[in-house]
Symmetry: C2
Subunit: 229 residues, 2 copies
Amino acid sequence: MEIVKQLSYIPLFEGLEQRHLEHLAAIVAKRKYRRGETIFSEGAEANGFYIITSGKVKIFKTAPDGKEQILHIFGMGEPFGEVPVFTGRSYPANAEALSDASTFFFPRNAFIGLIKQDPSLALNMLSVLSMRLKRFAALIEDLSLKEVPGRLAAYLLYLSQQNRNARDLTLDISKTQLAAILGTIPETLSRILSRMTYEGIIESDERHHIRIKDRKALELLADGNKIVR
Amino acid sequence: MEIVKQLSYIPLFEGLEQRHLEHLAAIVAKRKYRRGETIFSEGAEANGFYIITSGKVKIFKTAPDGKEQILHIFGMGEPFGEVPVFTGRSYPANAEALSDASTFFFPRNAFIGLIKQDPSLALNMLSVLSMRLKRFAALIEDLSLKEVPGRLAAYLLYLSQQNRNARDLTLDISKTQLAAILGTIPETLSRILSRMTYEGIIESDERHHIRIKDRKALELLADGNKIVR
DNA sequence: ATGTTTTTTTGATTTAGGTCAAGGAAAACG
DNA sequence: CGTTTTCCTTGACCTAAATCAAAAAAACAT
């Protein structure tokens, strides 16, 4: 079966036995979303969770005035919306497709049934949730204990690490989105980027591209030191 | 066995079969801490997690300048330090006893062994982690999208809910600690408390006690509205 | 009690970063 | 293409909250 093969490539299902993959294939549904489309809204009743098979999805909270804080941007192979599968009944945040996106949808009850039968699946899911808690803890730390330049520096270093410490980073999101990830607004981000360029820490010639020129300085910033001007 | 009985009262172990409780009892170790004692530090290697049997423990991150952000304060029956059991190997934050505290300690590998044998235990743990993710998401929202009065209002309402919507709240932490929970400093908290008292929203006659006088106003504040002065 | 330490409050000042406004540059779309 | 829409940048300004300083009030210990 084709779907079983696709499922086997998903980290969450890594190491599962063939028969369990087949069970998963039996309960999964495909769902597609267009760029900008809402996948679910905070508070909406949840009856399952998703795994991205193509495209990008942002998970975010919004203030009454419209400002948004992105909690996470998920891509290929990553699950989202799993929290209400195990607690409560409603999604704790909003999800929207950043690009056209395809997903697998797993209905809650059927999935819980499978978890009861397969400890590896349970452990994989525990690992996913734990990793997410770690990232959230880091985000809380950033928001509370660092200023915007520090958060930006930490984010750039994080991006760099994702690409085996590349010096040249390709932002695959708009700067407005980046601002929403860092917990600030586009104007502030813009100012800080140009300040960091002026300081010789980074270089941002073309759109969606940032080159790290002084990694050491970024590390200092990410650790709470201020820019010396 | 006495320990099995104690374990059966812990929410994480609710609904477990007798024999699984006995397995847990076989791997558990008791650990005690004195007020102010460090239980673990961020980055330290983790080989197990804890459940509080008495006292209080704070989980927090610190900035180089000493400012701290409390992620959570745990009490009786609550587990902490579980994240590295399922991912990575080191604690992502610090833990310190707020009062003298006793804990059960569960070694990592033995516990994972039990999870593999008992889907209910896995599901309970999934539920604990999911609930925690929800709270973290709320904290991120507060830090990023609300100002300090809004965060305080949200916290007071949360406290009230914990006590079946009581009007009289007993803070069991110092105001300095409360400030660290809200992501601010004692001076700011003090000013906001007196402003809210002046506005007639709360009343704070004696130490460690706050009475909600205008719940509606608190709800408005928690939703992002400003105090009308 | 009496002194000592910790917590809380109050005041004066500074500052990071948000708001408002407007122009310019890409990108999306018919 | 040209046009519309979204995105990004820059400037002037404002405000929430941090910092610095110091006193008052509790809590703690002797």
